[in-house]
Symmetry: C2
Subunit: 159 residues, 2 copies
C-alpha cells in the first residue's frame, strides 16, 4: 500500500479480516477455524512488529501452544475470558489483563476460549529474523525465513 | 527481574507507574506532567518492543510531536477521546480506534487530551538501534544510543 493511501487512524474492528485462517499445515490449520485475525499494524505500513485484533469464538484457540526463540509476544484482553495455557498450567484472563511471552524461554503459550462468549484481544509480536517456533504438544517445528513461516515435522521431514 | 519472579499475567492497571514523568530535558519534561505511563512489556522481560498503558489527564499530552527514523509506533485507545496531531492536522480518536506511525516518514505525531475526561491507551514501540527522533514544533533533537534517549538542541548544542 502506498503511503498516500494509508489511513491516519481507524476503528480497529473495521480493519479487514485476514482471509487465510492459518499458515499451519494440516491437520493444524483446521484447528484454527475459531480464530479471526484483523491485522492492524500492516495497515499503517509498520514492519518492525505486527499488531492484530483477534477474535476467538467459543472453543477457538489463538495458536498451537508454542514458544519463540527470538521474537517477543504480548497480548492484551479487550473482551471475554480466555484461558492462558503455559508450562505453569492454566490462568483465566479477563478484559484489562495482559501477558507477555519473552523470546528464548522455551515456555509454550496459547489462549483457548473455554467459555460460551467470544474473546477479543490485541496481539503484538516483533519480526526479528532467524526466529524458530517450538511446539511442545504437537509434531511441528517452524522457522521464520524471508518473513514467512516454514513448517516441518519435528524430525525435519516436510508436511 | 529474574525469570522466576516474572508474572504469568497481570491486570494492566495494577502495573506500577513509571516514577520519572519524562526523559525530556526542561522545559519539555514539565509539559508531560499530565501523562502517566505503566510499562507492561518490561514486567514480562520483553526487550524487542515496549508496551505501556498510558493515561492522559485533561490537558495531558502523549509526547512532544515527533517522528522516528527507525522505530515503528502504534497506539490503541481504551478510554476517552484524545486528539491525534500529525502533519495532516487533527483527528479526534475514540475507544476502539488505533493508529500506527511508520518509521522514516518524518510525519510528526502526538496525542493531546483536549477533553474534560481522562484518556487511556496502549502504546507500542520497538527498540531498533540507531533511531533518531525529530521534533517539528520544538527545538529538540534525540538519538537512541545504548538503549537510552540523548537529547540536544537542533544546532547540536547540549541542554
Amino acid at each position: 500500500m502506498s503511503d498516500a493511501k494509508r489511513p491516519v487512524a481507524i476503528r480497529a474492528a473495521d480493519a479487514p479480516a485476514r482471509v487465510k485462517p492459518s499458515n499451519y499445515p494440516e491437520p493444524f490449520a483446521s484447528r484454527m477455524k475459531g480464530r479471526e485475525k484483523r491485522p492492524l499494524g500492516d495497515l499503517f505500513g509498520l514492519t518492525n512488529f505486527g499488531v492484530n485484533l483477534t477474535r476467538l469464538v467459543p472453543g477457538g484457540v489463538s495458536a498451537l501452544r508454542h514458544a519463540h526463540t527470538k521474537q517477543d509476544e504480548f497480548v492484551y484482553i479487550l473482551e471475554g475470558r480466555p484461558t492462558l495455557h503455559t508450562d505453569e498450567g492454566k490462568v483465566l484472563l479477563a478484559p484489562g489483563m495482559c501477558a507477555g511471552f519473552k523470546a528464548g524461554t522455551g515456555n509454550g503459550h496459547c489462549l483457548i476460549n473455554e467459555t460460551a462468549e467470544d474473546v477479543v484481544y490485541l496481539e503484538i509480536g516483533d519480526r526479528t529474523r532467524g526466529d524458530v517456533g517450538t511446539y511442545p504438544d504437537d509434531d511441528l517445528a517452524a522457522e521464520f525465513v524471508e518473513d514467512q513461516w516454514r513448517f516441518a515435522h519435528k524430525d525435519g521431514s516436510r508436511y
